[in-house]
């Protein structure tokens, strides 16, 4: 049958079936099972009203259970079995096998890098864009344009950025923007400014921000020791502190690298094949897409800030930067966390970008693509499921946090 025709029939059947189900089941409930007349009319109406919510909910619960809840457990089970042995239970053998593969550790390391860089950069750019566009007349047009990549598929964005990163042999005209900018640098003072001083400043400010965030988390422990009181979430705070310390060390050590590195000036680079740095070039694609999302949400939050607080700060003589960082940002901290976690989830599931641009070659593998490789290329359902479970484990803290917040809000 023609797929378009099939589609139309499916829409008719799907929508019609749903409406018929809801209408029919309500009719049966009211007219046949618990008719609202006769001696027991009142009792029947009450009973019918107890059953009705489940009639409304049933299709959704069924679909959610079958398509999202059941697979979680089934995947967990599959990750403990081996397909080649007819689905026999093999314990943690799949996990052992996965841990022994360097590709898995590469994927995990890259995923962690993505997790640090993409939400941070998207939120920062989004906040910047929100703050700047709120102050100018053509702000909403500017917002539209920055928001636009949200509509573009990851695959489409992959093609767009592949053109940006395109490399041609040295004796031909470069058609990729990045290479043609790169070839403008020749090792003079401009190169020093843009390729050494600027990254150094960015690294230093990154280290400073990370150190500051780490200190915010660790400080309550130090203070509570002095006062003898307890600070909540001690393990979490310590973990963030250690992670921050490691990141600071990492950025300071790469600072030395920035100045000692011998740049290959004048050589067009095939950017996506440079190990380690190519991951960042892939991250740029996702940052480019997600910044618009962060901007829209944060801009709404910024507009929701009570004007009195800003007016009071101005009267007290605060400059625009103080107003932004000390008055506005603390008031929208909750929204920043929401944006951050939402982007984190997108990052954990990122698949299309890597699949389309490098397919995990040149050390750009990520977990979702690793999983796809295992499941559908190597047909190894056990290890594939095991890596899916790893993704689930990484998502779980956010899941718990979201549910906790949603319940708190409802009360």
């Amino acid at each position: 049958m023609n797929p378009a025709l099939l589609g139309l029939i499916t829409i008719a059947l799907g929508v019609g079936g749903c409406v018929l189900y809801f209408w029919g089941s309500n009719q049966i409930l009211d007219k046949v099972i618990f008719p609202a007349k006769g001696p027991q009319a009142g009792q029947n109406i009450n009973r019918a009203n107890q059953v009705r919510p489940w009639l409304f909910l049933f299709p959704a619960i069924f679909a959610l259970g079958l398509y999202l809840a059941y697979p979680v457990f089934e995947t967990l089970r599959l990750s403990l079995t081996d397909r080649d042995q007819g689905g026999a239970f093999v314990g943690l053998a799949n996990y052992d096998q996965m841990m022994a593969e360097p590709k898995f550790w590469e994927a995990l390391r890259n995923n962690l890098l993505w997790l640090i860089v993409v939400p941070a950069a998207s939120t920062a750019f989004g906040l910047l864009a929100a703050q700047l566009t709120d102050r100018i007349k053509w702000g909403s047009a500017a917002k539209s344009l920055i928001f636009m990549p949200m509509a573009i598929s990851f695959v489409g964005a992959g093609v767009i950025f592949k053109l940006v990163y395109e490399a041609r042999p040295a004796d031909q005209n470069q058609i990729g923007v990045l290479n043609s900018v790169w070839l403008q640098f020749e090792g003079g003072i401009g190169s020093f400014l843009f390729l050494q001083l600027l990254p150094a400043i960015m690294l230093l400010s990154f280290a400073a921000i990370v150190a500051y965030v780490g200190w915010i988390f660790v400080r309550p422990i130090a203070e509570s020791k002095q006062r003898g009181g307890g600070a909540g979430y001690v393990p979490l705070r310590l973990f963030v502190g250690v992670a921050a310390l490691y990141l600071v060390y990492l950025s300071l050590s790469s600072l030395i690298g920035v100045f000692t590195f011998d740049y290959p000036y004048g050589q067009p680079q095939t950017w996506l094949t440079i190990p380690f740095w190519n991951s960042f070039l892939l991250m740029v694609v996702l940052i480019w897409i997600q910044t618009g999302f962060a901007m829209v949400i944060l801009s709404a939050a910024l507009r929701g800030i009570p004007e009195e607080t800003v007016e009071a700060a101005i009267i007290d003589g605060a400059n625009p930067f103080q107003i932004f960082f000390k008055i506005k940002v603390p008031q929208i901290m909750g929204t920043i966390v929401v944006v951050w976690t939402t982007i984190t989830i997108v990052v954990l599931k990122v698949f299309d970008i890597v699949f389309a641009m490098t397919n995990g070659q040149w050390e750009t593998q990520v977990l979702a693509n690793y999983m796809y490789d295992k499941m559908f290329r190597a047909n190894d359902w056990g290890v594939g499921s095991a890596s899916a479970i790893i993704i689930m484990l990484l998502v779980t803290p956010i899941l718990v946090w979201n549910v906790y917040n949603a319940r708190k809000e409802m009360k």
Partner: protein, 384 residues
């Protein structure tokens, strides 16, 4: 906040410039692909797409026809006439010309260059040249001329025609376009219907376990669909759906439901309680309240979710790859087609850029037309 004293900062121009830079940075990559899709293969390889936006200036060297064979006598003088560009026509509008490599722009078209002792040379705007002089001067090799022509930016829609009508099934996007459309529309509409009823129950009906169900929906919002691939594929094959449209519609419906329920419930909870209670007092059943009051009032939320689900199913690659595309490749969608092109036609940017833009165009139109609802949905949908 512009009305507050002191808030009009001196940073106004700096803010404007920063926003211009930011917007330019964000639009630049997409714009590059758009421009590339309107250039021919040779143009794309020959120069960066940014060069095609400006008129290109090109100076070429030409030589007049061999005087010994082509000269004609007019009075005392011998004359050679002809056209430099032949049948191909001019490479652009002639800007200037010269007879020496040291001064290639010495003359305007139509000027007559005096080469000394009565020998003259002239070129008009069409590239017709006239070279005249005495017997001795008009002999030997033809006179050299350097012609600088400016050609305007040149674009073609040929790529789009090619890619939509191509006979090669790997390049042809028309089929993939309709396949994507076939996947998208039912996968957008069906979850709305299912979710709307559930959202109404979760928002306005009282029953034990409601809070837990809402918490479950919030939890399922973030469950990665990667976990669902193998179990559901097994299930689909087991009950005989196999790989095909039905499977992909069901999968998209299932994966889209948590967001749909969450968005719609959040919106419905905010509807005025009075209307619903009045209707109940007047004897309306829940089914009537839902269809006659809630559904029309919830239109903005329905639109928000519809856009989300449309963008998501249109742009999806993974679900289509797992649940739809079989070995025959008859049911390929555009994202998959583009990934394949990246593999087989990695250097053919005229095909890649055009194919990518065919797939990007529809979501972009939807985006710009219905941005208001998308923003509203985003604000309601991010877990607070």
């Amino acid at each position: 906040m512009d009305n507050i004293a002191g808030s009009k900062s001196s940073l106004g121009w700096a803010v404007n410039i920063s926003v211009v830079l930011l917007v330019a940075l964000w639009v630049f990559p997409t714009f590059g692909l758009l421009v590339s899709s309107f250039r021919t293969a040779d143009q794309i390889v020959g120069s960066g797409w940014w060069a095609s936006l400006f008129p290109s200036e090109q100076t070429d060297r030409y030589r007049a026809a061999d005087p010994d064979e082509n000269r004609v006598q007019r009075g005392d003088l011998f004359v050679v006439e002809g056209n430099f560009f032949g049948d191909d026509g001019a490479p652009g509008e002639i800007q200037s010309w010269g007879t020496s490599s040291r001064a290639v722009d010495a003359y305007q078209p139509g000027d007559v260059a005096d080469l000394g002792d009565g020998e003259t040379f002239s070129i008009d705007a069409e590239g017709n040249y006239t070279w005249s002089g005495n017997d001795e001067q008009i002999s030997g090799r033809g006179q050299r001329a350097f012609v600088t022509a400016v050609s305007p930016p040149e674009f073609t829609t040929e790529n789009y025609v090619n890619i939509m009508t191509s006979g090669d099934s790997n390049d042809n996007m028309a089929k993939a376009f309709f396949n994507t459309l076939t996947v998208t529309i039912p996968a957008t509409i069906i979850p709305i219907v299912v979710a709307a009823f559930a959202a109404y129950a979760l928002a306005w009906m009282d029953f034990p376990g409601r809070a837990i169900l809402i918490a479950c929906v919030v939890g399922l919002l973030v469950v990665p669909l990667q976990l669902a691939l193998i179990p559901l594929l097994k299930l689909h094959v087991g009950i005989g759906i196999g790989k095909g449209y039905l499977g992909v519609w069901l999968a998209h419906t299932g994966f889209g439901l948590p967001l749909a329920i969450y968005l719609l419930r959040n919106y419905m909870v905010g509807l005025p309680r009075d209307i619903i209670e009045n209707a109940k007092v007047d004897g309306a059943t829940d089914f009537q309240i839902f269809t006659k009051i809630i559904l029309p009032l919830s239109f903005p939320a329905l639109a928000s979710f519809a856009i989300f689900q449309f963008l998501w199913t249109w742009n999806d690659l993974l679900v289509a790859k797992v649940f739809l595309i079989d070995a025959t490749g008859q049911t390929t969608v555009m994202t998959d087609q583009i990934v394949n092109l990246l593999g087989t036609r990695g250097g053919n940017w005229e095909i890649l850029a055009t194919a990518a833009f065919v797939s990007i165009a529809v979501p972009l139109c939807v985006f710009f037309a219905m941005q208001k609802y998308l923003v509203r949905g985003l604000l309601a949908g991010s877990v607070k």
